[in-house]
């Protein structure tokens, strides 16, 4: 469903992604980990073309992401994204945050979009906040709204870039629970996170990145028991003992 082949990306002289080969299949949950600056966010952001690749090929549903002829807005309908800092629209209510894209991009009627938005708000457990402004919600609630906003487009793929890193510890669980439920329903997910519990429970694969390269790919049980790569071992011991 998502295929990176020989993908490189440069910022000027600096190479952020090196020879990336990665295939993510429908329904898979892939967790990306690695040290800060290793290129995890960049990898994720290439998938929906928030960043463009320098060379190689990257396809989503057999459509080339970098091809100039590709209708990128059409592609993005199929890919939801959740950010570390939520990025809810502060001037719109929770409900309006969710209905905006379905109405403007999918052409849903106001009524239809609201109905669908309420369905997802119930799913993430905050239907009662539909008419609140984002600033009136806790971090965990805001992130759940952001997830509902992504889901309301009925995407095939959901991307998560450190969705719990900006949250107070007591709110991490509520967001991870929503994500786990989504994984169990068969959503294709690419998740940058250091939450090991989440990775062990729902990830089909762990991708370990360092200095722009994918150093190791393994199923979680194997990876967390005994990573093959020296740098992965070092990284794991650091996040375990921090």
């Amino acid at each position: 469903m998502i295929v990176f082949s020989q993908v490189n990306k440069f910022y000027g002289d600096f190479q952020v992604l090196k020879d990336i080969n990665l295939t993510i299949n429908k329904g898979e949950v892939v967790v990306v980990i690695g040290p800060s600056g290793s290129g995890k966010s960049t990898l994720l952001r290439c998938i929906n073309h928030l960043e463009s690749i320098s060379n190689g090929t990257l396809t989503v549903n057999e459509v080339s992401v970098s091809d100039k002829k590709t209708d990128i807005n059409k592609l993005r309908k199929e890919i939801g994204m959740v950010f570390q800092h939520f990025h809810l629209y502060p001037h719109k209510t929770v409900l309006q945050n969710i209905t905006l894209a379905p109405m403007k991009v999918l052409g849903q009627s106001d009524e239809e979009a609201k109905k669908i938005a309420m369905k997802y708000l119930e799913k993430v457990g905050i239907a009662e906040k539909a008419n609140a402004l984002p600033s009136q919600l806790s971090g965990g609630q805001q992130q759940r709204v952001a997830i509902a906003r992504g889901l309301a487009m009925n995407p095939e793929i959901m991307l998560f870039d450190e969705p719990t890193s900006a949250l107070d510890p007591e709110m991490i669980g509520e967001v991870l629970d929503v994500m786990k439920a989504l994984a169990h329903e068969g959503m294709t997910m690419v998740v940058v996170t250091h939450e090991m519990g989440f990775a062990r429970e729902v990830a089909d694969r762990i991708v370990f990145m360092d200095q722009g390269q994918i150093l190791e790919e393994a199923i979680p049980a194997e990876f967390y028991a005994e990573p093959k790569e020296e740098r992965a071992k070092l990284f794991l011991s650091r996040i375990l003992n921090h």
Binding site: N48, N73, G80, M81, F83, Y89, H91, A101, A146, G150
Partner: protein
């Protein structure tokens, strides 16, 4: 000082007519300069190639000219190249050009102050650039821009008095005509003019504060 004589019905009528013209010029210049300023700001914000660089240079030049010079220029210099305006349109055009340059900078910095994450969230949900600008960036930026924009409108209203130099019969000009008849009218008339400007500008700044409070 002759207050009673200065404030005769005829004089007051005459002053109000001048003030009417002042407000008329200000309102037209405000509307036009806001539209032009917003368009310039958006083109530069979107970094439309070539056009945005050209606009950047023009805006810089205009912002650094005295408005008075611009008024002289439109009224006195343009006729030399065959473009001739009456004093009132000449003053309105000069005001509009000047204020559009100022407003474009205010609006542009308002747009730039919006977190790039907002754009990324909107674009990644499939909205195109224009939709993102219209539904996400502009509404948030406008709220932040209200106070500087209103204070720019206030200085525009004050700047209309510069049109006196090309004999536009605006408020200050009408005042000059009245106190030109009699020295004893000078202070009363100037006081009244001060009051007129103050009342309108003060009302504007109160409005600005209201809008600000509503937005926070």
């Amino acid at each position: 000082m002759d207050f009673a004589g200065a404030y005769s019905i005829d004089h007051l009528k005459f002053l109000l007519e001048g003030f009417g013209l002042t407000l008329y010029m200000a309102v037209i210049a405000i509307i036009c300069s806001f539209i032009i300023g917003a368009v310039i700001a958006i083109i530069r914000y979107a970094k439309v190639p070539v056009i945005s660089q050209i606009l950047a240079v023009i805006v810089e030049i205009i912002r650094n000219l005295p408005l008075l010079l611009l008024i002289f220029f439109t009224y006195l210099a343009l006729p030399d190249i065959g473009i001739k305006f009456n004093p009132i349109p000449a003053a309105i055009i000069a005001l509009t050009i000047f204020e559009a340059a100022m407003l474009s900078e205010i609006i542009r910095s308002g747009l730039n102050s919006i977190d790039k994450g907002q754009i990324e969230a909107a674009r990644s949900s499939g909205l195109n650039y224009i939709q993102t600008l219209w539904h996400i960036i502009l509404p948030q930026a406008l709220r932040r821009m209200v106070p500087p924009i209103v204070s720019q409108f206030i200085s525009l209203l004050k700047d209309t008095s510069l049109a006196v130099v090309v004999s536009v019969p605006e408020l200050l000009h009408s005042g000059q005509i009245i106190y030109g008849q009699k020295q004893a009218y000078l202070v009363p008339i100037l006081l009244l003019i001060v009051m007129m400007y103050f009342v309108v500008n003060y009302a504007l700044s109160i409005l600005s504060r209201r809008l600000e409070v509503k937005n926070t």
